[in-house]
Symmetry: C2
């Protein structure tokens, strides 16, 4: 039985209508493909990533794949030891604490700026996004919506440096929470839904242009959300350790 493809092969560059100005290099396509694979759970946390099979699956040379992987290592989604290969990262609870702490600092400023600078069109967009998020039932898609919603807020803040740092900081977090959900589904553990009330209040604060409220709501939102995830990660790791012995 042919195993299901984990990754989509890199598509030949689509013939843009007017010869696209910014040609995307193969490396960038491989990078995006790999990143998506991790951030959508097709490559799950802790999984070994071998170069030759992956290069074949993607239809590119190992050199290119290595450059893309290099980038993901630097971004914190992969970790590699020399001659011992690369794996998708697996965060320890203490690391999650650190990341969330840094995230609160940076995103606190981002939502403050967003509340100060938001336009009417963006207000509508955020509200629409939030309604969509409320309607969504599938927990996996809820997580992805959540991620994209936050990213949009960072964009609205207009602070490119903080935006970049936040993307880098939260990607491993997102991958890990994804792993939690899929493992919990597989093992038939209760998969409690994300708390969404704080989410709504955060959006409202940003749209109403009240920076202090926005920052406060963000802190509440993140701590509430991630103490739960953190506990689950700890339990998950404990279970894994137990299985090993």
């Amino acid at each position: 039985m042919p195993k299901p493809a984990l990754l989509l092969p890199v598509p030949a560059s689509p013939p843009g209508r007017v010869q696209r100005v910014t040609k995307e290099s193969t490396r960038d396509k491989v990078y995006s493909s790999l990143r998506n694979a991790i951030l959508s759970g097709r490559l799950h946390c802790g999984e070994r990533v071998k170069e030759i099979p992956l290069a074949e699956e993607l239809g590119v040379s190992r050199a290119i794949l290595r450059e893309a992987m290099q980038q993901l290592v630097h971004e914190g989604l992969l970790e590699s030891n020399s001659y011992r290969g690369a794996r998708v990262i697996e965060l320890r609870p203490e690391q999650i604490d650190e990341i969330v702490e840094a995230r609160i600092l940076l995103e606190g400023r981002a939502v403050r700026l967003a509340a100060e600078r938001i336009h009417n069109a963006q207000r509508e967009e955020l509200n629409a996004f939030e309604k969509q998020l409320q309607r969504e039932k599938d927990p996996l898609r809820v997580g992805q919506f959540d991620f994209r919603l936050h990213q949009r807020i960072w964009q609205i803040s207009g602070h490119a440096t903080i935006e970049k740092l936040l993307i880098q900081l939260t990607s491993p977090l997102f991958a890990m929470s994804l792993l939690m959900r899929s493992k919990e589904n597989r093992d038939h553990h209760a998969s409690s839904p994300l708390p969404r009330g704080t989410h709504k209040r955060l959006i409202e604060a940003i749209c109403q242009g009240t920076p202090n409220d926005a920052t406060r709501e963000l802190e509440a939102h993140l701590t509430e959300n991630w103490t739960a995830i953190r506990r689950r990660v700890a339990e998950f790791i404990a279970r894994e350790e137990a299985e090993k012995l």
Copy 2:
């Protein structure tokens, strides 16, 4: 006339006394070498970085060099456009503002933690460092000492995530301030020394274990320091623009 070597060729792996456990790969050596070259001003901001000559100078293949450069691009020290090569970054004043703002957020927390967690041995180390910094006359070396001192503080904070972000964030800043100094020396502009009073008070606050003072002193230190640099960058860019026309 043979031009002076910008980079030291990558040395063959020195035969460690007991066969070092962590073998440094060629890529890592190339990465460090290149990074040092930028952060010590041997490769100056805005300079084009060509792969073939550089690979020959370093005595490695282009593939390896590309992987190392890739990493520096992600770190923000190089910027590259497809088929148009890579250059050392050149920050615009607005970017400096953004970086310093993010830095204050993160380093504010770092010095707070450092003040809470510092040990006696580390207190002495910081004080010694600070005295050394006071004695130093060469402005270039002052900058390097300053950078290392801050890095040591981040380490003492024990927050690995914030430390990593800060290194990434400040490297381009440091490279740019270096460029300023060397250009100013060359063009015989006045090169005003860094203000050091705030520096001393910051160290004292950390050593005395007063987190609030430490955070406040840090903010003073950074804003004082970087508004100066920012102004100089703006003037420098203005001069360059004028030369072009």
